[in-house]
Amino acid sequence: MNTVIFRTLAPFLTALMLLFSVFVLLRGHNEPGGGFIGGLIAASALAIYGIGRGIQPVRQALWFHPMTIAAFGLLLACVAGLVSMVAAVPFMTGLWIYPSLFGVEVPLSTVMLFDLGVYLVVVGAITSIALALEREDI
C-alpha cells in the first residue's frame, strides 16, 4: 500500500472525503444521508490518511483523542434532547429557529444538533479502533 502515488494522494482524498461527509451529514434532512453515514465516510477518510501517512500525523491532525470526540458527540446528542426540557416540552422534542444570515434564512434545529452528535460518536468510536489497530510497530 505504501506507494508514492497513494502517499501523495492520501491527504487530498481525505480532505475531499471529509468535506463530502459534512455535506452528507447536512443534506441528510431532506435527501439520503445523515449523521450515521456521514460519520462512516469521515471515519474511512481518516483511515485512508492513516494508511497513507501513518498514525502519528492522524493523531496530530485530530488534536483530540478520537474517543474524546465520540464522548463530545454523545454529550451534544444529550444536550440536544435536554434543550427541549428547558422549553417545557417532552424530552427530545425537535425545536426550530430560523435566524437570517446575510439575508438568507437558515433553518437550525435541535434535531440537527442531535445528528451532529451521532456523526461525532461514529467518527470518534470507529477512528479510535482503527488507529489502535494500525500501529506502526507492526
Binding site: N30, P32, I129
Partner: protein, 793 residues
Amino acid sequence: MHTGMMAMTFVAFCLPFAGALAAPLLTRLLGHRAALPLALFPLAIFLHFAQLLPEIGRGEIVTGGYMWVPHYNVSFSWLIDGLSLTFLLLISGIGALIVLYSGAYLKGHPHQARFFSFILMFMGAMLGLVASDSFLMLFVFWELTSITSFLLIGFDHAREASRRAALQALVVTGGGGLMLLAGLLVIWDVTGVTQLSLLLSFGPEVRASPFYVAILVLVLGGAFTKSAQFPFHFWLPNAMEAPTPVSAYLHSATMVKAGVYLLMRLNPVLGGTTPWETILPAFGGLTLLVGAVLSIRQTDLKLMLAYTTVASLGLLVMLTGFGSEHAAAAAALYLVAHSLFKGALFMVAGLVDHETGTRDITRLGGLGRAMPLTFAAAVLAALSMGGLPPFFGFLAKEEVYVALSGGSLRSAAFMLAAVIGNALMFAVAFAIALKPFLGPRVATPKAPHEGPALLWLGPMLLAACGLAAGLMSAEVHALVTSPLASAIAGQPQAVTVSAMPHASLALLLSAVTILLGVVFFLLLDRARRAADRLVEDIGWGPDRGFDQFMAGLVRFSHRLALLLQPGRMEVYLTVTFVVVAAALLLPIAWYGEWPRLPIWPADAQFHELAVMALALAGVFGVLSATNRLNAILALGIQGFAVALLFLLFGAPDLSFTQFMVETLSVVILTLVMTRLRLQPRDARPLSQKLPDAALAIACGLGFSLYLLRVTQGRFDPVLTEFFNLYSKAIAHAANVVNVIIVDFRGTDTLGEIAVVMATGLAILSLIRIRKSVAGPATTATGATKAAAGEPQR
C-alpha cells in the same frame, strides 16, 4: 398527630444520621469528649418519644409520615404503638449511654470518630426499623442494620478474626433479610397492602391463604437469622470481636432483638396457628437450652454473656409463639428486663477488660476493692438477671412461669426448658458479678483501678433502672409493659404482676430456679468441663458448617466461572452463534411458520441479474480463497453487491450505509489480521472445520427463512403512511429515514450511539490489554471474527 409533632418525629428519625455526619468534626475538635455533645442526639430523641408515653399508655396508636414516591405509593411513614415505642425508648436511651461509654472506652483510638459515626448510623437504622409502617422502609432499615453491624463488628479491621466475624454476620443476617423481603412481597400479594398498620386487620385473610406456610417460613428465616436462633446462633458469639460498646448495644440490647420485634409485630397477623405455635416455641426452646449450656462452657466474660443473650432471645421467641394468655405479657416484661440487665453486664465486662487487660474469668479475682462502683453495678444487674425480688427480672420470670404453666405435656416440657435455662443463666450472671470481684486478688496485665465516670455511669444507670422499674411496677406497667403486651397480643392486655412475692406455682418455680442456679454456680468449674466435653464430643457445629458452606460456595463459583469463562474465543463465539441459530430456527419450526419458496422473478432485468451473480461470486470467493486476505476482500465484494441491490430497489440510505460499513469492515478486518499475526491460511483439519461450517449454514439459513417469512406476511402500511404524512408536517424534513432516526425515534438513537461509544471503549481497552499482557506471537483465530463483528453494528 398534628403537623408540628409530625415534623418533629421526622426530625427525630433523621437526627442520628445528622449526628453521624457531625461526629468526625466534633471528634477532631474535642477528642474523646465529643461523646458529650454526641450523646445529646440520642437524648433528644429519647425525650421526644418519651412525650408520647401517656398517649400510647391510653392505648392509642400514633401514625404519621410523608409520601416518598407517590407514583408507586411508597411512603416514609411510621407506626408507633406500645411495641415500637418501647423499642424506640430502649434504643435511644441505651444509645445515649453507649455513646458516653464509648467516648471513654475508645479514648485515644485513632478511629474513634469513625466509631461514633457508625454507631449513630446504626442507631438511625434501628430506630427506623422498629417504627417503620411501610414494608419497604422496614426492609431498607432492616438491611441497613445488617450493614452498620458489619461495619461495627469489623471495626478492628486489621485482625482477621474480626473481619471473618463481620462477614459472617453480614452473610447470615443479610441473607435472612432477603428472605424477609420475599416474605413481605408474598404478604403484599396476598393482602394488597404495603403498610403494617393496615396489615394488622388482615390477619384472617393471611392465615387462610394457601401461601401462609410460605410466608411463615420466609418471615421466620429473616427473624431467626437476625435474632440468632439455633441453628443460626453462631454469628452472635463471633460478633463479640467488636469493641464492647458494640456488643452491649447491638448484640444484646437492640439489633438482635429486631427479629423478636418482627415476630411480635406480626404475631397478631401470623400467630395463633398450629405451625406458628409449634415452630416458634420449638426453636426458641432449643435455642434457650443450647445458648445456656454453651454459655457455661465459656471463660471469656463477653462470650459467656453472648451465649446467655442467645438463650434469652430463644426464651423471647418461645414466649412470642407460645400463645397462652400471659405469654405476651411475659415476653414484654422479659424484653425490657433483658435489655436493661444485659446492656449493663456487657458494659461491666468491657470495664473490667479496659481496666485489667483481660476478660478471662479464671484470671480475674478480688477486684471488688479496687473497682467498687463497677462491682455494685454488676451485682445489681446480676440480681435482675437472676430474677430476684424486687428487681424487674423477677417480675419477668414470674410472668414467664405463669404463662408457661398449664396442664398439658407441651406446657410442662417448655416449663422444664425454661427452668433449666434460667437456672444456668442465673449461674452465669453471678459468675460474672461475683468471681472477678471477690476472693483473693489475682495478678492482671494492668493494675486495676476504678474507671472514669463515663465508663461506670452507663452500667450503673441501667442496673438502677432494673431496680427502679421493679419497685415502681404499677407505673411501668401502665406506661410501658401493658401497651407493649397489647401490641404483641393484638388485643388490650393489662399486666399486673408486682415485685411483692406471693405464694403461687410461679413463686415455687422461681425458688427452684434459684436453688438450681446456686448449685450450678457452686459447681461451675465442673459444669464447664462437662459442657466442654459434650461440645468436643459432638465436634461439628454450625460455625464450622458456615465455613464449609462458604468454602463450597467459593469452589462452586470458581468452577462456574471457569465453565462460563474458559478464556477461549472459539467457545464464546460457538456458544453465541449456536444461540443465534437456535433463536432463529426453533420458533419457525415450533410454530410451523415455514416460508413458501420465492418465485423466480420473470421480469428481472439484466443488470439486476448481473449484480446478483456478483454477490454469488463474492460468496464463492470467500469459500474457495486459499488465504485469509483474499477471503476478506471477496466478502467485501459480496457486501458491495448487496449494497448495489439496495440501491436498485429504492433504499438509498441503507445502501449508502452498507457501502461504508463494507469498506470499513474490510479495512478493519485486514488490520486485525495483520495485528494478530494470524497465519495467512486456515490450516485446521476438516474435522474442525465441518462443525463451524454447519453452524454457519444454520445461521445463514435461519436469517434467510426469517426474512422470507417476514416479507411474505401481510404488510401493515400504518407506519409508512404515518411517517409519510407527518415527516414534513411535524419534523420539517423530506427524508423519512433520517427523520425516524433523529426525530421520531431519537431516544432510541441516543441509546444506540451510547452503545457504539461503549463498544469502542471496550475494544480499545482490549487492544491495550493485549499490548501490555500478551506476547506478540499469540494467535487467536476467533479474535478476528469478534473484532470484525463489532464495527458493523
